[in-house]
C-alpha cells in the first residue's frame, strides 16, 4: 500500500516519555511553585523563555520531595541558568 509514509520518512507513533511518568502530587506540595510559574507565563504572554527560572524551581521542588527522579539540572536544559548563577556567585567573591 503506497501512502505518504512509505518513503523512509520518520513516522509519528506516540511514545512514552523519556523519563516515564511524573508521580501525582497528591498533596499539592509543589502547587506554590506551579502557581508562580503560571503567573509568570500570564505576565509574559506565555513566553516559555522568560519563565525558565520558575519552571526550574518547580522541578527542583519535585525532586526534593521524591516526586521526580533527581537529575542534574544541566541535563534538563537549564545549563545556562546554572552557569549564570555560579558566575554571579563567583563575581561576588
Amino acid at each position: 500500500m503506497s501512502t505518504a509514509m512509505t518513503f523512509g520518512t520518520k513516522s509519528f507513533t506516540p511514545r512514552p516519555p523519556d523519563k516515564g511518568a511524573f508521580p501525582l502530587d497528591h498533596f499539592g506540595e509543589c502547587k506554590g511553585f506551579k502557581e508562580k510559574f503560571m503567573k509568570c507565563l500570564r505576565e509574559n504572554s506565555f513566553e516559555n523563555a522568560l519563565c525558565r527560572q520558575e519552571s526550574k524551581e518547580y522541578l527542583e521542588c519535585r525532586m526534593e520531595r521524591q516526586l521526580m527522579a533527581k537529575e542534574p539540572l544541566e541535563k534538563l536544559g537549564f545549563k545556562d541558568l546554572i552557569d549564570e548563577k555560579s558566575e554571579a556567585e563567583h563575581n561576588k567573591l
Binding site: 509519528f12 507513533t13 523519556d18 511524573f22 506551579k34 503560571m38 525558565r52 536544559g77
Partner: protein, 136 residues
C-alpha cells in the same frame, strides 16, 4: 542541546476524556511559545468528580502529524495509570522540548503552530492502550 532562538513555535493544548471517564480534565494554559532546543513546562489539571476512586490512563497526539517526531517528552503523566480519589484534583505537568532538528527540516519550514492533545481513558485491568496511527 542549544536553543534555536529565531524559530518561535506556538504550542497549544487540548484535553479530552473518553465518554465513560467522569473526570474534569483541562489544560492550565491555552498556549505557550517555545523555540526548538529549549525545555518547556506546561500543566494540565484533572479532577475526579465521582464519589469513587478512578484510575485513568492517557495517551497523546501531536498535530501537524509530521511535527510529532520532533516532539520530545522528557516527563509527563501519560502511558501510566493515574489514580484519583473521589473529588481529588491534581496538577499534571508535561516537561518537553522540540528537537533542534525541527529547525533543519525543510518540511517544517512553514510550521509555527503545534497542538498537543491528551486524552484520558479509564484504565481497566488487562486492557492494552490503543495507540492511534499505523499499527505495526
Amino acid at each position: 542541546m542549544e536553543p534555536v532562538k529565531d524559530r518561535i513555535i506556538k504550542v497549544t493544548f487540548n484535553a479530552d476524556v473518553h465518554a465513560s471517564l467522569h473526570w474534569n480534565f483541562r489544560p492550565q494554559q491555552t498556549e505557550i511559545y517555545v523555540v526548538p532546543g529549549e525545555t518547556a513546562l506546561a500543566f494540565y489539571k484533572a479532577k475526579n468528580s465521582t464519589d469513587k476512586p478512578v484510575i485513568g490512563i492517557s495517551t497523546y497526539n501531536v498535530v501537524p502529524f509530521e511535527a510529532g517526531q520532533y516532539f520530545n517528552k522528557i516527563q509527563c503523566f501519560c502511558f501510566e495509570e493515574q489514580r484519583l480519589n473521589p473529588q481529588e484534583e491534581v496538577d499534571m505537568p508535561v516537561f518537553f522540548f522540540i528537537d533542534p532538528e525541527f529547525a533543519e527540516d525543510p518540511r517544517m519550514a512553514k510550521v509555527d503552530l503545534i497542538t498537543l492533545s491528551y486524552t484520558f481513558f479509564e484504565a481497566k485491568g488487562g486492557h492494552k492502550l490503543p495507540l492511534p496511527g499505523y499499527q505495526k
